[in-house]
């Protein structure tokens, strides 16, 4: 359920950002600002319109969502995984689907 997740994120991220600020200070804030600014400069996909062409109330909300995503990205990018930490997927080759064989 996305809306609550997004709203949960508002507080969760606020807490997370505060936590990170203690140890990493401006680095996280700069990363957040960078991702947010990058998002705002990008042109949207085929279904969208230029952010700048959005109505002001719409732009305000989209900017808010971009900021929330930027904070998530900053947190993920800053998170330190131990060297050698496991990959996420186990890739498995798929057997040939030969006719007449099991």
């Amino acid at each position: 359920m996305r809306p609550t997740r997004r709203s949960f994120l508002k507080l969760a991220l606020a807490g997370g950002a505060a936590l990170l600020t203690t140890s990493h200070g401006t680095i996280v804030q700069a990363a957040t600002a960078a991702t947010t600014a990058a998002s705002r400069k990008r042109t949207p996909g085929a279904a969208g319109v230029e952010r700048d062409a959005l109505a002001p109330d719409m732009r305000k909300e989209i900017d808010s969502q971009i900021t929330a995503m930027g904070k998530s990205l900053a947190t993920v990018r800053k998170f330190q995984l131990a060297p050698g930490s496991p990959p996420a997927f186990v890739f498995r080759p798929l057997r040939a689907k030969r006719k007449g064989t099991k």
Partner: protein, 465 residues
């Protein structure tokens, strides 16, 4: 003969006993549910579509079979509803959005097929939030069926995204319902509507034929009027499925056991700044009751981890990929949530490297959670910190608190059961959840049944206008 409305609110276990003994006719039961649906469901926006002809056909078949002595089991002759994201051959499946108007599939989803084979009767497709909320939503009306109105107070929301599933079970339109959860979509409507729902372990139930929102987060589960009913339905729909590689080869049987020796982690939420005091008081009372029932509950802290950020990155990536076609042809603009068409812009800064990092973090979180469950057997925590919000309230404001348990639970694919624990503001239902380690659904159901032997909140039902 018309059935008393009280019969329609009986748990599946009781309906099954009567049907098996031929003291209750599946045909009469189906007609009574259909009459109640006609009278009350439209005002609550509970159904995407009702399927009376199919229901009558299935009911007559069930009745004839049982009369011949062929009783299939505890769902034979039991009417139910399925969230409108499960494919049903010959019946439109519209995923809650006008973008999918008239969408038809040529076969049933695996869970629908399993329930048909168990003899259950499909009363209709239940309303839901568009795309199960996969592209976000700010208001309850983000559904082609209209806002999910809560049977306890139609001026309040049902919760989502399985809005019709929670509503229909609480209102007595169906004996049980199927829902899905990516993050919160079974537990939320269960809590807000005062019913019992279980989010199974990721992979417990096949998703084949169900709409994909975020394929590494989506789970299928039942919403019912008791924990015992959840066990019955979950056993019927669980199990491996060649059509869904994620469906695990775990036994579908969920045997009862002794839960009093288990060690429960009490995860308290901070009500000092957000949340409603009635919820805290009810939760404290529930914990005291569980302890008096012999449950060992000790205060514990969850592993500290930015699980919500991991979920945000992965779910956003998967949902944007899943719904790519709707962006490409512009039909995403038919969604009622006006921000949905701009989600690609919102996620424009998200890179492949970010997604892979989030995935590696997810693996690291799983390791920490596995260690946590080396000490603790289950987690008890409030479900939501407030009652269902008013129907027209901005959900970002109404539910402006974090969900660390949901973030960890869904990111790690953990099972959880939502249980009614009383009533809060304006006599709206409130609930708590018990979350367990992967494949521990039987324990959660045992704990739920233990709770419901003592609490009886699950036996209270709304009076429909």
């Amino acid at each position: 003969m018309s059935l008393d409305d009280d019969v329609l609110l009986l748990p599946v276990t009781e309906l099954a006993t009567r049907i098996k003994a031929r003291r209750l006719s599946p045909v009469e039961l189906t007609e009574a549910y259909l009459a109640r649906i006609r009278a009350h469901a439209p005002a609550l926006n509970a159904f995407a579509r009702v399927t009376p002809e199919l229901a009558r056909t299935q009911a007559r078949a069930a009745e004839a079979e049982i009369a011949r002595g062929h009783y299939r089991g505890p769902l034979h002759g039991i009417p139910y509803g399925a969230k409108d994201l499960f494919a049903t051959a010959g019946i439109a499946t519209e995923w809650g959005t006008a973008a999918c108007a008239g969408q038809m599939f040529d076969r049933d989803a695996t869970v629908v097929r399993k329930l048909r084979e168990a003899g259950a009767i499909l009363l209709g497709k239940l309303a839901m939030v568009e795309f199960a909320g996969g592209l976000g939503y700010r208001f309850a009306d983000a559904s082609v069926s209209g806002p999910g109105r809560n049977p306890w107070n139609p001026g309040r929301w049902t919760g989502g995204s399985s809005s019709g599933s929670g509503c229909a079970v609480a209102a007595g339109f169906v004996a049980f319902a199927l829902g899905t959860e990516t993050w919160g979509s079974i537990l939320c409507p269960s809590a807000f509507c005062g019913v019992t729902g279980i989010r199974p372990t990721y992979g417990r139930v096949s998703r084949a034929g169900g709409m994909v929102c975020s394929w590494t987060y989506d789970k299928v589960g039942p919403i019912c009027r008791s924990a015992a009913d959840c066990r019955t339905v979950l056993e019927a729909i669980a199990g491996p499925d060649p059509a869904d590689p994620s469906a695990a080869d775990e036994p579908a049987r969920l045997p009862r056991g002794d839960v009093k020796r288990l060690r429960g982690a009490l995860v308290e939420l901070d009500f000092s700044k957000v949340g409603e005091p009635e919820v805290k008081h009810a939760f404290d009372a529930a914990v005291a009751e569980l302890r008096s029932a012999g449950c060992r509950l000790e205060v514990a802290k969850l592993p500290e981890f930015p699980a919500a950020d991991v979920a945000n990155v992965i779910i956003t990536s998967e949902a944007l990929s899943t719904f790519e076609n709707f962006f490409a042809d512009g039909s995403v603009k038919k969604n009622k949530d006006r921000y949905a068409p701009h989600q690609d812009l919102v996620a424009a800064a998200l890179t492949g490297k970010d997604l892979m990092k989030a995935w590696r973090m997810r693996t690291a979180l799983q390791e920490r959670v596995a260690e946590f469950f080396g000490t603790w057997d289950y987690i008890v925590t409030p479900n939501f910190m407030s009652v269902a919000p008013p129907i027209d309230q901005d959900l970002n404001q109404a539910l402006s608190y974090a969900d660390p348990v949901g973030a960890i639970g869904n990111t790690c694919g953990l099972p959880a059961i939502a249980l009614p624990m009383g009533f809060g503001k304006e006599h709206m239902p409130i609930g708590f959840q018990i979350m367990g380690a992967p494949w521990d659904e039987a324990r959660l159901l045992d704990l739920g049944e233990l709770w419901q032997q003592r609490s009886k909140f699950h036996l209270q039902h709304p009076a429909l206008a």
